[in-house]
């Protein structure tokens, strides 16, 4: 009897221990995501009782919807403007941090501060920094003879301001991730290069970057998945407007999804937006992955 109890304990316990994760994730993470596809096939409004099945109509409508394409363009523009400088800066910063430093913890703590600041706080602070009349950015530009820019009003300017928020919040974090990977590169490789007279930048390009390539791929994919879902920054930069500016000049896909779902309560259309976003994210992440692998071969 004791023996069989013991056997049951050994055999069944592991499943009990992992089940809370799988049950809760399945119920409140995976299921809603999959159910989104089902909702997207219906004319599903929160305001109406009937929810007729309409096949792919939401999708065909979405593909003809100029606001959708506008949001997709904005999202990609903001994503590129924020991710590329962010990861390059992070690499440089990590390279600088990857040497014998005084006050290691001090630097690292300071550089991670932006990341523990909430997205909402970042968006509010930068909204002020970039404000037309009282913003420090315009004041500095003015010192160099620049005019007063209405950052909110233009497409390019608003994208730059929003990207600045993302860059500010994530550069230090990514630098730490790179630093962790760089510390795994044997010192002997760097020492040999120094003896051969390689400069710091040459070592970064020829030794460090090739050795931490998997980590770079990881950060590119994570920033892709996060960057394409950007919502809080444009929402708050537009002072809570769901359209992302008066001409939708900085409305992102996630914001458009939010507008459809909780502005118009058109759940079917919002779900179609969400599901297309999912496909786009998966597609771009896969392209990133292949592209980086191609570079490695070449």
């Amino acid at each position: 009897m004791r023996n069989s109890l013991h056997r049951f304990d050994v055999k069944a316990s592991p499943y009990f221990y992992i089940s809370p994760f799988f049950i809760l994730f399945g119920l409140l993470g995976l299921f809603p995501l999959l159910y989104t596809a089902w909702v997207s096939l219906h004319e599903w409004s929160l305001l109406e009782e009937a929810r007729p099945y309409i096949g792919l109509e939401n999708y065909t409508e979405l593909l003809k919807d100029p606001f959708f394409w506008n949001a997709l363009g904005n999202t990609i523009s903001i994503w590129v403007l924020s991710t590329v400088p962010q990861l390059i800066l992070a690499l440089l910063l990590a390279h600088v941090l990857n040497s014998r430093l005084r006050g290691e913890t001090f630097w690292r703590t300071g550089l991670l501060l932006p990341n523990i600041t909430s997205v909402v706080a970042v968006a509010i602070i930068f909204g002020q920094l970039f404000s037309r009349d009282y913003g420090i950015v315009n004041w500095i530009l003015g010192l160099f003879g620049g005019g007063h820019i209405d950052w909110n009003a233009g497409t390019a300017t608003s994208h730059v301001a929003i990207s600045a928020m993302v860059i500010w919040r994530w550069t230090g974090y990514n630098a730490l991730i790179y630093l962790a990977a760089m510390q795994a590169v044997p010192d002997s490789m760097h020492e040999a290069a120094i003896i051969d007279g390689a400069s710091s930048m040459q070592r970064l390009r020829k030794i460090t970057i090739p050795s931490i390539r998997p980590t770079i791929i990881f950060t590119v994919i994570v920033s892709t998945i996060g960057g394409l879902q950007i919502l809080a920054e444009p929402l708050l930069f537009g002072r809570g407007s769901l359209t992302g500016g008066s001409d939708r000049q900085f409305q992102t896909l996630a914001l458009y999804l939010y507008e459809n779902g909780f502005g118009h309560f058109d759940f079917g259309y919002a779900s179609a937006t969400a599901w297309l976003m999912f496909l786009i994210i998966a597609f771009i992440a896969a392209i990133n992955f292949l592209f980086i692998r191609l570079i490695r071969r070449g």
Partner: protein
Amino acid sequence: MGKLERIRKRPLVYLTLIAFMFFSTFPLYWSVVVASMDNSALGRVPPPLVPGSHLFENIKRVFDTVPFGLAMANSLVVSAVITFSVVLFATLAGFAFAKLRFRGRPMLYVAVIVTMMVPTQLGIIPLYLIMAEAQLIDTLYAVIAPSLVSAFGVFFMTQYLSGAVPTELLEAGRADGCTTLRLFWHVVLPIARPAAAVLGMLTFMTAWNDFFWPLVVLTPENPTVQISLSTLASGYITDYALTLTGTALATMPLIVVFALLGKHVISGIMQGAIKG
């Protein structure tokens, strides 16, 4: 002398770091400056760069404009419950994945890692429908429920425990007739403590800063801190002094905690990175 010499040798390194440091701290400093100003002072040229004397007045205005005390309390409850749950379930699952043998283990672990990449935020419409069906809209339950477990947490604890818990110790315990639960309680949990603390801090910060989902299910009358901030920041006219006072108030507790315990958070992020 030795110190000076070393700094002089690599001025570029320190200059670069100081520049990065300036950019990463200035916006936070600026939020405090604006928070201590009268709105009229913000129009000055050049802009005021040192704090003024209106901080307490502005704080009072924040509490008069939005239910900020309730928001703080709500955020605290939400973040604490989520942290406890994530750490508990991650440690349990991490123990199983790291140290127990069972059929399907490799496949299930791969599933955990894949789910880290899944943009679950996109399931927001059905999640809202579920919460509406359960009559949980506008309650903290709705905010908490989707965050009760985290794939990253399971991954993080599995990585830590597979290195930190000696397998012989578990085998010895088994030979003495310990049940799995006793092993978890008396052997694994004490060893897991440092990693659990790091995961706890990371989780707490994420929960405290979460915005999208609380925005969907809560109202400005029963908000979390981030929702109150967005209420302050919305509308046609922005009262910058008011808005940034709220921002500073909401951010400072986290910054103080981070300044004290940041070392562990940083090492946690870096450990997660290496193994990832």
